[in-house]
Amino acid sequence: MASAATPVNENRPAWLRDNHLFQAWLVLMLAIIFGTCLAAVHINLSDRIAENKLNESLERIPGLIWNEGQGGTSVDIVSGKIVVKKEDRTLYYPVFKVTDEGKLAGWVVKAAGQGYSGSIELLLGLNPAGDIISGLFILEQTETPGLGNKITFPDWLDQFPGQGTKAPLMVVKGGQTPPGAIDAITGATISSKSVVGIVNRAVSETRGLLTPEHIQFVERSQ
């Protein structure tokens, strides 16, 4: 069956037959067709996927402000973004303002950065004044399973709540953690340092900006 197409090629001039682009016409055509299909799929689904991601963040937020079991009675979360102006560029931090019965309960900042084997995205909970960390959750990471992915484990993340943000957090090895220090995961020092680095950068870049005047709030559709 496959031989049916061969004689057609024999009639073509040699320069055309040997041309690589001509030989690959089917590949190129399929690439265009498939590319169009994927674009259509992406256009149809990307909003929904973004919404799923946002909902996941929203679900996590109360746990980053309050301890488990505690929490407000009528929690309201408003999302927005902090505009951080640097000398040469402008950065945006997605931020969630958490209120309970109309009173400010805390802030949750979404930050990202480079880890050991890919980018790490995390949610950082801060108290209303922004000077104490109230929680940390890793949204996305691709660190080494068994070593680096321990950054998502609660027993490691539990070192963060209660830490002050006046001075950058340090990473120490060997299990001794004075205040202001985070114990590195054995075998995953780089992953540990990456997370602490992302937290420190987010804290220093949003310092003094966690006030309603500096945040562009997103109008909610509902």
Partner: protein, 208 residues
Amino acid sequence: MANLPTPLERFVQGILPENPVYRQFLGLCPTLAVTNGLKPALTMALAVGFVLLCANVIISLIRSLLKPHLRIVIFTLTIATFVTIVDRVLAAYMYQMSKTLGPYIPLIIVNCIIICRCEVCASRQSVTAAAADAVGQSIGFGLALVSIAVVREILGTGMLAGYQVLPDAWPDWVIMVLPPGAFLTFGLLMALVNWIDAIRTEKNTGRG
């Protein structure tokens, strides 16, 4: 052409006689990685089934246009397209499952079952045979994943698809849901399949 299997033979062969996991040893990465629970295993089997069916049908439709030195490129292109569609659909409609399966959905692109079926069957036979082959192989792959997942989830957590099946007194064998459990279960089930096969061959030759 005459000695190629018929669509029905292709379908039946995929399920047990040429089971992709237990007989061809293909697609072992998802087999070991996502079988710590029944739900991810079923999702993976369905995802692979969908990609395999679509890829087989498309390759079979364009089989007369394939050039020998460009066929692998076309197989990969087709497979990658459908895998991306599956990946996006999962992220949109089954977000938690998509996070559980993580990189293993994009990794279907390099799943040897699909490229093997494109090469062995779809690039040589009619659309009917290619589709029957895809369905048969998918059922075979699904059975293999489910057989491993059932053993691992029950022994590892005492539950099946999230429902308690063993009494609470069962000490969960945590190792079964960890990577070593995948190798242990796969090895033991493989031995079982080979043992049954050996007995059957012995009986047949004894009678014959």
